[in-house]
Symmetry: C2
């Protein structure tokens, strides 16, 4: 195999109670990439479709992630990459992670899988570092492993895949406003109250248990965030109305996707996810903010080959 | 059935990364109680063996927990309770919780189980309130449900039972020193760093996943506490030497049991738990501190009837 077409999933990081550790991959929202083995050494981004992104290897997250892999491999050729962006950068659903992940996963396939999933996460994290100055794993890990993943520790990196109940769907609404990741980091405080910390780890434990048990009610009860959401939601117009509309229409929970501005809701079943989509869209219709809505099953597989 | 003999398990609260939310029950360490239905209304503590504890109903945790149950029941008679204490008060392995739990569980059995486990936890929490001014659930919940339990939320109370791998054993060493619960509370700070918070909820999620998966290595990696242990361990002489000895001898993890002074270690298998016991005991032999050591399987059932 000299060429592979790759689906690179959008991802939701944090997932309410899992700030900086939890993430999940979507099944039907994501980018596409074409990756080709070539003789010329190095990574060559030959096309970016759908977004204005740099073609220079060391300025493109797919390029940087790919170089990290190449450096550890004993392959002496190179790769051409075409990127078909469908996820908007800055939307909060892992646009850079999708590109980094797609590149390293596809290259690994073409090299007959010399690297483990954990190693691929480490390579893709280099793309995240380029995008936001921080080598986060909470988007790239679910993109590579699929389903929910927990980044238990960074030093050493420890990724724990968490099973995903089959009827779990996400609705994502992306208000067309810009929230800079740097601003959404700056608004956070470096200390939190012990009281809120206890609530957070209680909820995280409850969410993990709910996912293992396929207990949708427990999942719903655990989707609370007393620490980050009260601060970051200030930057997202209409957040509280959207959240209320989601919950009133049967969503298990609702929160900020990554560092925003996208808002996600989780539902049991596609029908409910659609009902939630319809009703949260109304909120932005009324406020007069443009938006995009996505509905997707949670992906069990993450990044994958497209036929 | 007019009389029941009850085994009331000792419990380990917090379990490193689960401060104020996690607890586990021991299988072979605990008190015994004899509970008898009598015509005379109210709770009558007729005997306390093994410790000096008040017989007055409203000064005894078993009495107070029992009264909370009686108040919600439509039984018009009363109960006599004999308590055979084997767990030392102030040891940090849930002495008061054992008495509160045994009382309400035994009474519920004699009344043909009108109350759910969750309701029994609420009654038993009234005993905890008498003992330490705070109605904690992290000892009484595992005592009632067995295994590991997560107190996800207090308002409303939400207890999540977590499965317990079959080969999990605890070693507990109780240095014979007094650490007042009020002092071990006072030494805590009301704020924590966000950075340590993230580590804590990452570990709690990892521990819950490890227990579901029976992944002993993941359980071990997750048994870390960057928040409470560094503060409270100051109050426990030899803590760091004991912890090092436990880990060096193969324990999965080691930390403070409840608010101390007992120290617990978890092991895969009884043989390792015994080896850990032998080696942590040596530490206190050398320091010259008296101690008691317990080795027990984690209990799957919690409080139970003795034949």
């Amino acid at each position: 195999m000299n060429e592979i077409k790759v689906f690179c999933p959008a991802t939701i990081a944090n997932v309410s109670c899992g700030f900086d550790v939890l993430g999940l991959a979507l099944e039907t929202v994501g980018d596409e990439m074409l990756i080709r083995k070539v003789d010329k050494p190095g990574i060559h981004i030959t096309k970016v479709d759908g977004q204005e992104l740099p073609l220079e290897t060391n300025k493109n997250v797919a390029g940087v992630a790919g170089l990290a892999l190449l450096e550890k491999s004993n392959y002496h050729g190179g790769f051409e990459i075409e990127i078909y962006k469908k996820i908007k950068p800055g939307s909060g659903i892992g646009s850079s992670a999708a590109s980094s992940t797609g590149a390293v996963w596809g290259m690994n396939e073409l090299l007959n899988n010399p690297f483990s999933k954990l190693e691929l996460v480490k390579f893709a994290m280099q793309g995240e570092k380029l995008a936001s100055n921080v080598a986060h794993a909470d988007n790239v890990a679910p993109a590579i492993y699929g389903g929910f993943t927990l980044a238990r520790s960074y030093n050493p990196l420890d990724i724990v895949p968490i099973p995903t109940p089959n009827a779990l769907f996400a609705t994502v609404i992306h208000p067309q406003i810009e929230v800079k990741t740097s601003d959404s980091r700056k608004i956070l405080k470096t200390t939190i109250s012990l009281e809120n910390g206890i609530k957070q780890w209680g909820n995280l434990g409850g969410l993990v248990a709910g996912l293992f048990r396929e207990d949708y009610e427990l999942i719903g009860r655990s989707l609370e965030d007393h620490i980050i959401e009260p601060l970051r939601s200030i930057l997202i117009p209409g957040f509280h109305q959207v959240k209320s509309a989601a919950i009133e229409n049967g969503a298990l929970g609702c929160g900020i996707s990554g560092s925003g501005p996208s808002i996600f809701a989780l539902s049991k079943g596609e029908e409910n996810a659609q009902r939630v989509a319809l009703n949260i869209a109304k909120v932005y219709d009324e406020i007069g903010v443009d938006y995009e809505v996505h509905i997707s099953k949670i992906s069990a597989s993450g990044v994958k080959q497209l036929k």
